[in-house]
């Protein structure tokens, strides 16, 4: 297994309660969750907002420290690893964020954003290698000197992808990366992701609430609700025969391209 979470739980301070002294009450947003990804495998994490799918993704990357359980990356226990211990692993596990508007610093150029990523991980950050990365995600090298707000939404998300894959990682968490894009741009960005996945042998945790996208991209799917995994299995099996009513509802909510005969007359 490349990455594995064993029975992890995650507690966060409850911000809705103001306390004067002492600790805030804790909210448990992940409850006893286990998940594992092999090298090159794509798993879809599906659920409503607030279901804990994003928290699970971030915990796998150790952006959150789980309260209970264990996280293993390539056999190494990173559950409570310090920032310094994680540093050498950061290159190998990356994240693509939902909203590139907020995940790209508005005060830095695209070139500087990518150079920072490369330099931090001891890789070649010359203009030439940055241009190569941009080219791979379908952006012109002139984007180096642009600021994020000068790009379109789709181009910005390509920069987000470029920043993650520039480091040649083994594992990437993609958090709702197409939900802010229009449908045709979505398709292009997903194609790009598929291409990169097969080319680099990426293991991918694909977080989404859009089951049609998950179906086209993922081999396995994990359905989450209220911080727990309520169903998991091969994408085809889960879609064909969901075991829980919740999954059934999710699947039924996919809009289908069928047209009732005579709908124009009604």
């Amino acid at each position: 297994m490349l990455i594995e979470a064993r029975n992890i739980s995650l507690d966060v301070p409850d911000m809705s309660h103001q306390v004067l002294i002492g600790h805030r009450r804790k909210l448990r947003i992940l409850k006893n969750v286990s998940i594992a990804l092999k090298k090159g495998e794509t798993v879809g994490l599906v659920g409503e907002s607030g279901s804990g799918k994003t928290s699970l993704g971030r915990s796998l990357l150790r952006l959150h420290e789980p309260s209970e359980g264990q996280i293993l990356f390539d056999g190494q226990d990173i559950t409570h690893a310090s920032a310094a211990e994680l540093k050498p692993l950061r290159r190998r596990m990356q994240m693509i964020f939902q909203d590139p508007q907020s995940s790209l610093n508005p005060r830095h150029t695209i070139g500087s954003i990518l150079a920072t990523a490369l330099k931090l991980n001891g890789m070649d950050a010359s203009d030439k290698s940055i241009a190569a990365v941009l080219d791979r995600v379908g952006l012109p090298s002139s984007a180096i000197r642009r600021y994020p707000h000068q790009l379109s939404g789709g181009q910005r998300q390509r920069v987000g992808i470029a920043r993650a894959v520039a480091l040649k990682p083994d594992f990437v968490v993609a958090d709702e990366i197409v939900s802010g894009l229009d449908v045709s741009t979505q398709a292009q960005v997903l194609d790009l992701l598929k291409g990169l996945r097969s080319e680099m042998g990426l293991a991918l945790a694909f977080i989404s609430h859009d089951l049609s996208v998950v179906r086209s991209l993922c081999e396995r799917v994990v359905i989450m609700k209220g911080g727990e995994i309520i169903e998991e299995g091969g994408t085809a099996e889960v879609f064909a025969a969901p075991r829980t009513a919740f999954t059934r509802t999710l699947i039924d909510s996919i809009p289908l391209p069928e047209v009732r005969p005579g709908w124009l007359d009604s």
């Binding site: 990357l61 952006l63 994680l86 950061r90 994240m95 909203d99 995940s103 610093n105 920072t116 991980n121």
Partner: protein
Amino acid sequence: MPRDLRIWLGGGFILFLILVAMFAPLLAPFDPLEQDLMAATAAPGVEPGHWLGTDSLGRDVLSRLIYGTRIALTVAFVAAALACLLGTTLGLLAGYYRGWVDAMVSRLVDIWMAFPPVLLSILLVAVLGAGLTSVIIAIVVIDWTRFARVVRAETQQQARLEYAEAASALGMGHGAILWREVLPNVLPVVLVLLSLEMGIAVIVEAILSFVGLSVSTDTPTWGGMIAEGRQIIYQAWWVLVFPLGALFLTVLAFNQLGDGLRQWLDPMLKR
């Protein structure tokens, strides 16, 4: 008023003051300390060369006004810069690390703001002893909270954005995230505050001069001139009015510059 005009007028006037302060010995027609009791309380233009009149000791008001710019601007720049440095640092740390750091800084700010500022500054200077350094220390000690409060709120908001988390996913340390990623986004707010604070510092210095707690009385200051002018306002209004006008225009210029910068740097208003 259009924001560009505010920046140009405010900035232009401040630049003018800086030049006046730098070239004071060349610009002043008289030695600001030279007494001429024969020409005491001369109205503007009555005695040859005394364009703005003389005070009760026969000192040239214009020359004292010009030399007074030096103290006003020194305090404005040094005190505001130091208050900014202290307040911004604490605000950044509180906003970014939250938890107990935030709790400490926020409580400190709350307590600080419960003191009446003018009284506190007079008390501080009384304890430290009069003088330029004490005035600057007093302003820094009182006004760092303005920066700390605003920068803390802004940092909190910025640190919630995903670029901070993206940097941490790339293996960037907290210090670097704060310095390289968050600070550039907080800087516009800091610049605006800095400009406003300079205006405030000029006023506080004038207040302390007025009550005789600033620099020694043989150094001309606007506040000192106002205090002297107040005593002879019925005989010689010009001793009071001109430094008051200079003070008013200077503070107005800093405020307009600050407001102009705020509008110019705010992306929401930019469109």
